[in-house]
Each structure stands twice: as structure tokens, then as C-alpha cells.
């Protein structure tokens, strides 16, 4: 018998220890029974005759199991079990209570206090060993579960870091996000457009947990990289769709709503595929001005179909708020099993007309309704106020046109022509920006170049290659999928870049020529240059390009334009 109070008793055999058992009892008889049953089976025994000594052991030794002899200790059983649980903390150490059968009430208290198993005295060693063996398996499972969760937590940190690198955070955007598991299948991203505008994406992958989160990274990659390169939302959506179609199993897809907010906060382009309604709320009147329903199938299901990525254009004002959420919010249930629901959400928005930032009211209502219940799906709610902060031009971007002393006195020029189907399928703006950056060594601000090119390209499409409707609706960007191929087939667009010297410093000459019928550029340019006339510009885009460039000149019938862009800010 190893009643060696305070020292670890060895089991006397050359076998690996199955664990250390702390027995708390001042009865030498019980200790002897326990010892007989367990040291034989490969366990080591520590014996504490009172609670004080037991706590000393727990703080100074590694313990795997605890046996509490209810009849022979110096404090009440349930109190001791509760204190032991506090001492053992996060480590799972099974507590087994040795009880006498008439102590049922005490036993019940011990179980509620956190003991894991019990055995009635008198017991035989086989029964005791059986109990410990079954708890051994529970320990293994708990360890396995814990290491899985730990692994997920680490993986989540890596993923969160990777995602935060691919998205900008705004203090103004209020975000509620609750995930069902460690990983969330919901994804919220923002990216700054080269022209100062903003792209926002809220997505919801099928299911939840790791399998749902795994698609987030490629989506974030495409979203941030393509936005930065100057691509429009329709192109980004097409790319994400193709990527997810090849990446995800058939039963998985990504519902998403994506927004482009223009730099002047005058309009938003919205696409909704499989998400709940996107709300535009006037924060002054408190009313929901627009509800944008899902009109498309989610991404990743089908290969691209033309016209699938058409955007809805909504006029904005600076008092507007955009409210986005995933169905986890409305599908969340209260204790009675009733869903939070769209009606309750809309009612909450209606009832809080005076609340400028509706976010807190919604979160409050949601938490009151179903905050006590763990969500069955991932929940995301985002409130985006259309304040100038969102699209404010970041000065650091403008000044990063580093002044490099030019050693290219020999100069260079670059040229591309789009015709036929390439005119339909290729967005030349990112390509031209890319080439200009490579050739000019970043002397020209990307932001400036991108803004000017976008304007000139859009104008060429509107008045030249003619793909717009007759009313000349300027708003909906350059959406290639809308092009009428019969017209496009005979058309061409030539874009040239040339390094030149302008007023003694290096500059870039951009030239665009198209096959279209042109437009009354003389009148336009007069309006722009003659500001005192007080005429409202009908084409603000060209006026912007005029202001950004050193010189802007339309030639002929208006189908050829040349702009000089200097490296100076």
C-alpha cells in the first residue's frame, strides 16, 4: 500500500502510467481499497487526507482524476466539488464521488456542482477500474475536441488576418457579426476604387463553419485585386462566379449583394443574387426609400450568362443609409422557436424614425428577441451611412506619384486596338493603366490616370461605339455585356499612350479614337471652359477629366480625343 501522503507513489511496475489519481479521504481503509484497485491497473495514486492538502496537490501537481470520499472529508461534498471545479479551471479533470447509498441527496448536490461520476460503497476494484476506464475515453474525446477547436481558432486568426488585409475598415460602417461556429460563412468586404468610389460586398456561403468559410479567401482576393486594378463590378462578379463555379461542390454556392458607391455619393449600383432585400433608408425622414430584391441566382451555380451581371442604379443622397444583412438575422429564432423575420426588422426600422443611425435599434431589438438563443446560422448586419468619409480621396494615394528623375530621353509609345468581339469582352482601362504604370515607372498617379481613362472610355462608348440606349443614360457605367454585337462588329477603339515632355517635365499623352459618329464636342467643351455662363454641365465626367489633365482636346467629329497628363500632382 502506498499511503505516502504528499509523494507520488509508483505502481511498482515498468509500465507507462495511465495517469495520476488524487484520492481525497481520511479513511485509511478506503485508501487501501482504492490503491488495490488502481495501482495494479497502472495508475499512480496521490492521497490527501483533507481539503487543504487536496488544493495544494492540485496547484502543484499534474492530476488526471479526482476521487472524493463523501463520508470522510472535512467539508461538505458539493462545496468541495464546486471548489475543485474552480481550481481545475479549463482543464477537464473528471471527479468521481464515493458515496453511501443513503446519501442520495448529497450525491445529487455533488452532481449539480460538477462531479462526473459516482460509485457506491462498498465497491470492488473491478467496478472502480471500469468507471475510470470509461472516463479515460471521455478525456480522450474532450482532448480531441479541444485540439480541433484550438486548431480552428488559429486557422480563423490566419483567415481573419488575410481577409482584413483585403478589405478596408471604416469607423462609419457599423457591423454586427455573429457566427454559429468558430468560422463564419458570411463575408463582408470593402474596397476602394481607383477613382475614389467604393465597392462593398456582403456574401453568405451555403451552410456554416469551416466548409463555408473556405471560399472566402479567393473571393476576397478577386474582389480587392480587381477593384484596385480599376475593374467594374460586373467584371468582378463574373470572375468570382467563375472561380466559385470551379472551386465549390455542386451543392454549395454564394449568395451575395454587391454595391458600387460613386465617389460623389450621387448614386449606387447594386446587384443582389440570393440575398435578402437591400434597404436604402433616408436617415432624416427615417423611411426606407428603396428595397432591392434579389433578382439573380447566387454565384457559383451556373457558368456566366450574358446580362446576368446587370446592375440596378439607385440615386443616393448624403443622408442615405444602406442596410445590408444576411438571412441569419431574420431566420434567428427566439425561445418559442419563432423567427425574427423580415416584418419585425422592417417594423423596427419604421418605429425608430428618429434614430439617425438605425443600427443600434436593430441590434437591440434583435438581442431582445433572440439574444439568449445561439444562432442557427451566421448573422451579419451592416449599416453604411453615405457620408463623404466613405469616398473621401485618400491624399497618400495622390502623392505617391513618386518623382523619379527621368532617364528616358529616348521616349516610348504604346498602342492597342479593340475591335469585334474583343471590344465586347475586353475592358481596356485596367490594361492601359497597367501598361502606363510599367512604362512610365509610376510617375503618373494611377488614380488620376484611371479617372481620366474611365471618363474618356465611357464617353467613347456612349457617343462612339454606341452601345447605350438612345436616351443617353450616362449612369450605368461601361457594362460590356449590354453591347449590341451587330453594331459592335464593325466598330473599333484605338488607345495610344506616348511619353512626352510638357512644359519642361515628363508627361503622358493619352489618345482614344473610335469608329463612332462622335458628338458635339465643341458645345461640351465650351460649357466646361466657360464656367461663368452658369450652364450646368451635362457631362460632368468630361469636366472632371478636363480638370485633372493638363490639356484635353477633342478632334474631328468628336470620335478622337487627346489628353495630356502630367506627373505633377
Amino acid at each position: 500500500m502506498s499511503q505516502s501522503f504528499g509523494a507520488v507513489a509508483t505502481n511498482g511496475k515498468f509500465m507507462e502510467s495511465r495517469g495520476i489519481i488524487l484520492a481525497i479521504s481520511d479513511s485509511s481503509e478506503i485508501i487501501s481499497d482504492v490503491d488495490d484497485g488502481l495501482t495494479e491497473a497502472g495508475f499512480d495514486l496521490l492521497v490527501a487526507s483533507d481539503s487543504k492538502r487536496a488544493f495544494e496537490f492540485i496547484t502543484s501537481n499534474h492530476i488526471d482524476y479526482i476521487l472524493v470520499d463523501l463520508a470522510n472529508i472535512d467539508m461538505s461534498g458539493d462545496e468541495l466539488v464546486r471548489s475543485l471545479r474552480i481550481y481545475t479551471g479549463e482543464h477537464f479533470i473528471p471527479i468521481i464521488v464515493l458515496a453511501v447509498s443513503d446519501q442520495e441527496a448529497i450525491l445529487a448536490d455533488c452532481i449539480t456542482s460538477g462531479c462526473d461520476d459516482f460509485i457506491f460503497k462498498p465497491f470492488n476494484s473491478t467496478a472502480l477500474r471500469a468507471r475510470i476506464t470509461s472516463l479515460e475515453q471521455v478525456c480522450e474525446l474532450k482532448k480531441l475536441y479541444k485540439s480541433t477547436v484550438n486548431e480552428q481558432v488559429v486557422a480563423k486568426q490566419i483567415l481573419s488576418y488575410a481577409l482584413s488585409e483585403r478589405s478596408i475598415e471604416f469607423e462609419e460602417i457599423k457591423l454586427l457579426s455573429k457566427s454559429k461556429d468558430v468560422f463564419s460563412g458570411d463575408l463582408f468586404l470593402t474596397a476602394r476604387r481607383a477613382d475614389g468610389g467604393l465597392h462593398i460586398l456582403l456574401a453568405d456561403f451555403t451552410g456554416h463553419g469551416l466548409s463555408a468559410a473556405i471560399g472566402a479567401l479567393p473571393v476576397a482576393d478577386i474582389f480587392s485585386a480587381m477593384t484596385e486594378k480599376g475593374f467594374e463590378v460586373a467584371d468582378i462578379l463574373e470572375n468570382i462566379n467563375n472561380k466559385l463555379h470551379t472551386l465549390l461542390p455542386i451543392s454549395m454556392f454564394m449568395a451575395c449583394s454587391i454595391l458600387k458607391i460613386d465617389k460623389d455619393l450621387k448614386f449606387a449600383e447594386i446587384w443582389n443574387g440570393g440575398m435578402p432585400d437591400v434597404y436604402i433608408r433616408d436617415s432624416i425622414t427615417g423611411d426606407i426609400k428603396h428595397k432591392l430584391k434579389s433578382t439573380h441566382i447566387p454565384l457559383g451555380i451556373d457558368e456566366t450568362m450574358t446580362s446576368r451581371f446587370d446592375m440596378d442604379t439607385i440615386p443616393l443622397s448624403q443622408s442615405d443609409q444602406i442596410i445590408l444583412y444576411t438571412d441569419g438575422l431574420t431566420d434567428a429564432m427566439n425561445q418559442e422557436g419563432d423567427m425574427f423575420g423580415e416584418d419585425r426588422l422592417e417594423k423596427c426600422i419604421e418605429n425608430n424614425k428618429n434614430d439617425v443611425s438605425i443600427f443600434t435599434s436593430i441590434v437591440q431589438e434583435f438581442n431582445d428577441y433572440c439574444g439568449k438563443i445561439n444562432p442557427v446560422d451566421d448573422v451579419t448586419l451592416a449599416c453604411i451611412p453615405c457620408t463623404p468619409y466613405l469616398t473621401e480621396v485618400d491624399d497618400s494615394c495622390l502623392t505617391d506619384s513618386v518623382q523619379i528623375a527621368s532617364n528616358r530621353k529616348d521616349g516610348w509609345c504604346w498602342y492597342m486596338e479593340l475591335s469585334g468581339s474583343s471590344l465586347k469582352n475586353v475592358d481596356p482601362v485596367p490594361i492601359v493603366i497597367n501598361e502606363a504604370q510599367k512604362l512610365s515607372g509610376q510617375e503618373i498617379s494611377k488614380k488620376k490616370l484611371s479617372s481620366i481613362l474611365n471618363v474618356l472610355y465611357k464617353n467613347a462608348l456612349e457617343h462612339g461605339v454606341q452601345i447605350r440606349n438612345e436616351s443617353g443614360d450616362h449612369i450605368s457605367g461601361n457594362n460590356h455585356s449590354e453591347m449590341n454585337s451587330s453594331v459592335v462588329n464593325n466598330g473599333y477603339l484605338r488607345i495610344g499612350l506616348k511619353a512626352i515632355e510638357h512644359k519642361g517635365s515628363d508627361a503622358l499623352l493619352v489618345s482614344l479614337e473610335d469608329s463612332g459618329q462622335g458628338f458635339n464636342h465643341v458645345e461640351y467643351m465650351n460649357q466646361i471652359t466657360n464656367k461663368s455662363a452658369g450652364v450646368k454641365n451635362t457631362n460632368e465626367g468630361i469636366s472632371l477629366a478636363y480638370e485633372l489633365s493638363e490639356s484635353l482636346l477633342y478632334h474631328g467629329k468628336g470620335n478622337h480625343v487627346e489628353a495630356i497628363i502630367s506627373g505633377q500632382v
Binding site: 451552410g207 451543392s251 454556392f253 440575398m275 433578382t295 431566420d331
Partner: protein
């Protein structure tokens, strides 16, 4: 207390094996994915089968249920078959509408084909039907 709905998936096949009716009642979610798959995978492979998924008794449907429909669609597509969604209940229809699944499936809102099953030919696959 939660009132737990009994969910069930059952299947009927026409005598010529060209029509398969799949009936889902209760919550149509990830818990029935195995049973749902069994309704079309555990029948002898035939070309050009018409699958009728009856959702008139389904009370709810989650995104994994939409995924199950996509799997069935793929299964049918590979074998020259078609999938019809039959009489979706109001709750389920709103979910199908958000996902715009009418662009991928034919959805029938009124009772259509009746099945010419012979007694004994019914192959029931169910979870508590």
C-alpha cells in the same frame, strides 16, 4: 418547450420508372440530406427520368436544401432527366424566390401529373414517414 416538427422524405416511382415523385414534409434542411439523396440514387439508373419534388408540405427550407436541389438537378442533367418543383408552400416559395431558382428549375404552382404507380411498386424511403 419547442414543438418539434416531424420531418419526412418519401418517394414514389411510376411503374415504367420514368417518373419519380419526391415528397418532403416539415423542415427541409441539412438533416434530411442523406434521405433526400437516397430517393434518387437508390433507384435503378434510367435515362430521361422526370423528378417531381413536392414541397407543398415543407414548412421551411435552408440553403443546404437549395444545395440538395442543385445536386438533384446535376444528377438529372447527367442522365437526360428533368427536375420539377411542385406546389411549394408559401414559406418555401419565398426562399426559392430570393434565390431566383425559377431560373434553374421549372416550378409548378398547381397540382400537375398524377403518378401511375402500381401497388407494390412504391419504393418508400423515409425518415419517420
Amino acid at each position: 418547450m419547442f414543438w418539434r416538427q416531424i420531418m419526412s422524405v418519401s418517394q414514389e416511382m411510376s411503374s415504367d420508372g420514368k417518373k419519380i415523385h419526391i415528397n418532403i414534409s416539415g423542415r427541409f434542411d441539412y438533416k434530411v440530406s442523406q434521405e433526400f439523396r437516397d430517393t434518387y440514387r437508390q433507384v435503378p439508373g434510367q435515362e430521361g427520368v422526370a423528378y417531381y419534388v413536392n414541397l407543398s408540405d415543407a414548412s421551411y427550407m435552408d440553403s443546404s436544401a437549395l444545395g440538395m436541389l442543385l445536386l438533384l438537378r446535376e444528377h438529372a442533367k447527367c442522365r437526360g432527366g428533368t427536375v420539377f418543383i411542385e406546389r411549394p408552400s408559401e414559406q418555401v416559395d419565398s426562399i426559392l424566390k430570393v434565390a431566383n431558382f425559377e431560373q434553374l428549375f421549372t416550378i409548378n404552382y398547381s397540382s400537375s401529373v398524377s403518378i401511375d404507380t402500381e401497388a407494390g411498386m412504391n419504393a418508400g424511403v423515409g425518415a419517420g414517414a
